[in-house]
C-alpha cells in the first residue's frame, strides 16, 4: 500500500513508529450523503491513512473534494457510511475528548451573545479550570493571536480576520491533544497569515499536539506540514501522501526560498492539477456500486 511506502520513506530520518504511536487511524472511510429528498452525494469513496501522535499533517485537495466532510467525520460530528475513524485506539462515535476544531465557517462558530473573552472561557469552564487560571490562559491565547484589545468586544464587532483569530484563540486556550483546523487562515491578510502559520508551528512544537490542517493553499501546506495528504476530486480517494522532508526549524524567509521547498510545492501543485482534471488512482469501489 502506498501509505506504508510513504512512511518507510520518512523512516530514514525518524525511527519507524510503533503501532501505539498512532493517534489517528482512518480505516477504509467512505461517506455518502443521503439527505432525504435530495440526490445522494458520494463525498468520500475510500480513505486509508494514519497520523502519528504529535504529527502535523496538512490536507489539500480541489474544492468540494470532501475535506470538510473528512474533518467532520474525524471530529465525530458526522457518521461515516463505511469504515471507521479510530482515535487513540478507540473508534470515534461522537465528539472525542481533548479535541478542538476550528471550523471553516469561523464567524458562525462564535457565540454572538458572548464577548470574545466569554467565548474562549466557556470550554475552559467545562474543563473545570479555576477562574484565575482561566483568565491567564485566555489572556495568553489572545496575546498569541494579537487580539488583547478585543477581549471585551462581541464577535460581530470584529472583522472577518479577527473573528477567525478568536476561533483559533479559543482552540489553543483549550490545549487540545488533537487540533483540527479547516482552512483557518482563509480570511486573514497575508501578514497575519504568516504570523499565524508560525504560531501553529510553534504551538505544535511546544504542546506536542497532533494537528490536522486543511487548506487550499499549497505553499501553506508544504510550509506547515510534515506530511501533505493530497486528495483527488470527488468521490475522494488519496492522490498521494507526500512527505515534507524540510528541516524542522522553518521560517518564512529561508524555508520558502529553499530549493527543496520549491520542488515539493511544484510536486503538490502538479498533483492538484491532475486531481482537478479527474486523474485519480484506482481505489476500491464501494460495495454494491457496480457500473
Amino acid at each position: 500500500m502506498s501509505i506504508t511506502t510513504m512512511l518507510s520513506g520518512r523512516a530514514a530520518q525518524t525511527p519507524a513508529a510503533p503501532a501505539t504511536d498512532i493517534a489517528l487511524d482512518l480505516r477504509g472511510v467512505q461517506k455518502t450523503y443521503d439527505t432525504p429528498g435530495r440526490p445522494e452525494v458520494e463525498a468520500i469513496r475510500h480513505l486509508d491513512f494514519q497520523i502519528r501522535r504529535g504529527e502535523l499533517v496538512c490536507v489539500v485537495g480541489p474544492s468540494g473534494a470532501g475535506k470538510t466532510t473528512l474533518l467532520r467525520s474525524i471530529a465525530g460530528l458526522l457518521d461515516v457510511t463505511a469504515g471507521e475513524v479510530v482515535l487513540d485506539g478507540k473508534a470515534v462515535t461522537g465528539p472525542p475528548e481533548g479535541m478542538a476544531v476550528v471550523f471553516q465557517e469561523y464567524g458562525r462558530s462564535l457565540f454572538p451573545w458572548m464577548t470574545v473573552r466569554q467565548n474562549i472561557e466557556l470550554p475552559l469552564k467545562e474543563k473545570g479550570i479555576p477562574k484565575a487560571e482561566r483568565q491567564e490562559k485566555i489572556d495568553r491565547a489572545l496575546k498569541e493571536v494579537s487580539l488583547t484589545e478585543a477581549a471585551e468586544q462581541h464577535p460581530w464587532q470584529l472583522s472577518g480576520g479577527m473573528q477567525q483569530r478568536v476561533a483559533i484563540a479559543r482552540a489553543i486556550a483549550f490545549e487540545p491533544s488533537v487540533l483540527l483546523m479547516d482552512e483557518p487562515f482563509a480570511a486573514v491578510d497575508a501578514q497575519t497569515r504568516a504570523e499565524l502559520e508560525d504560531l501553529v508551528r510553534s504551538l505544535w512544537k511546544h504542546l506536542g499536539v497532533t494537528v490536522l490542517f486543511v487548506t487550499h493553499d499549497i505553499d501553506e501546506a508544504v510550509y506547515l506540514g510534515e506530511r501533505v495528504i493530497v486528495l483527488s476530486n470527488r468521490p475522494t480517494v488519496l492522490m498521494e501522501d507526500v512527505k515534507v522532508d524540510l528541516p524542522a526549524e522553518r521560517d518564512q524567509l529561508t524555508t520558502r526560498s529553499d530549493r527543496r521547498f520549491g520542488e515539493l510545492r511544484g510536486h503538490v501543485y502538479e498533483l492538484i492539477q491532475r486531481a482537478k482534471r479527474g486523474d485519480r488512482p484506482d481505489a476500491p469501489q464501494p460495495e454494491g456500486a457496480g457500473f
Binding site: R72, A75, G76, L77, G94, P95, E97, M99, A100, V101, F103, E105, R108, S109, F111, P112, W113, M114, L122, P123, K125, E126, H154, W156, Q157, F174
Partner: protein
C-alpha cells in the same frame, strides 16, 4: 439637541394630535355616551382613587403578572423540550396547531366552568393559557433555528447538557422567545379584561363593566384611558428588558444591515 427634540416629537407628536382631535371633536357633545374629553378628565381623579387602585387595578395587574409569568416559564421549558426532540415535536405538532387556532377569549367561559367565575384561579388560568401559545411556538422555532455551526462547536468542546442549554440553546432562541413574549403580553392584557367581564366583583375590567351598567359613562371612559396607559407602560417596561437582554442581537442586526 435638535435630534432629541425630533425624537420627542416623533414619540409624542401623534398622541398629542389625537388627544387634541378628541378634545375639540367632543367639546360641545351632549350625547350621554360621548361626553366631552374635559368631563372625562375631570372624572379621572375622583374615579381612580387610592382605594380603587388598590382594590381593582392591583388585583388585575397581579393576575396578569402571575398568568404571564406562568406562561413564560411553561412556554420556554416545553418549547425548548419540543424544539430539541424530533420525537416530541412529531407528537406535539398537531395538538399545538389545534390550540393555536382556538381564539383565546373562547377559553374564558370554558375555564370559568371548571375554575369558577369569581375567584382568581380561573382568571389566571385564562391569561396563562392565552399567553402560552405564542411563547411556546416561538421558543420551538427559536430552538430549531439555532445556527448549526454553533451546535457543532458546543458538541466538539464537549459542553455538558446544562451548559449547552443555558449558554447556547436558550440565548440562541432568545430573540424568538422575546417575539413570542411580546405577542403574549398584548394577548394577556386583553384576557385580563375579558376574564373579568363575565363575573367578577373587583378588577379593572369589572369596574369598567359596572360603570357602564350604572350609566356612569365618563367614569367608564376613564377606565378605558387607564387601560390604554397601562398597556403603554407595560410595553415600555418590556422594551427596556428586551433592550438589555437582546443588546447583542440588536447590535449584530445593525452591523449586518450596515447602519
Amino acid at each position: 439637541m435638535t435630534t432629541l427634540l425630533k425624537r420627542a416629537f416623533m414619540l409624542l407628536g401623534l398622541p398629542i394630535i389625537l388627544v387634541a382631535a378628541w378634545w375639540f371633536a367632543s367639546a360641545g357633545s351632549t350625547s350621554p355616551f360621548w361626553p366631552p374629553l374635559s368631563t372625562i378628565l375631570e372624572a379621572f381623579p375622583t374615579t381612580w382613587t387610592m382605594d380603587r387602585i388598590v382594590g381593582d387595578v392591583f388585583p388585575s395587574l397581579a393576575r396578569l403578572g402571575i398568568g404571564f409569568a406562568l406562561a413564560v416559564l411553561v412556554g420556554i421549558v416545553a418549547g425548548t423540550a419540543i424544539g430539541l426532540s424530533p420525537t416530541l415535536r412529531a407528537l406535539a405538532e398537531p395538538v399545538l396547531e389545534f390550540f393555536r387556532a382556538v381564539p383565546p377569549p373562547v377559553l374564558v367561559p370554558i375555564i370559568a366552568l371548571f375554575a369558577g367565575y369569581t375567584g382568581w384561579l380561573g382568571k389566571i388560568v385564562t391569561i396563562a393559557l392565552g399567553c402560552l401559545w405564542p411563547i411556546l411556538l416561538n421558543t420551538v422555532e427559536g430552538v430549531r433555528g439555532l445556527e448549526p455551526v454553533l451546535g457543532d462547536t458546543a458538541k466538539s468542546y464537549q459542553l455538558s447538557r446544562w451548559r449547552r442549554l443555558l449558554f447556547v440553546v436558550l440565548p440562541g432562541a432568545s430573540p424568538r422567545i422575546f417575539t413570542g413574549a411580546r405577542q403574549a403580553l398584548s394577548i394577556g392584557v386583553i384576557l385580563m379584561v375579558i376574564s373579568e367581564l363575565f363575573g367578577a366583583n373587583r378588577g379593572l375590567g369589572a369596574a369598567i363593566v359596572q360603570f357602564q351598567r350604572s350609566f356612569a359613562i365618563p367614569q367608564m371612559w376613564t377606565g378605558i384611558i387607564l387601560l390604554g396607559l397601562i398597556g403603554v407602560l407595560l410595553a415600555a417596561i418590556f422594551k427596556v428588558v428586551e433592550n438589555r437582554m437582546l443588546a447583542w442581537y440588536v447590535g449584530q442586526r445593525q452591523i449586518e444591515r450596515g447602519v
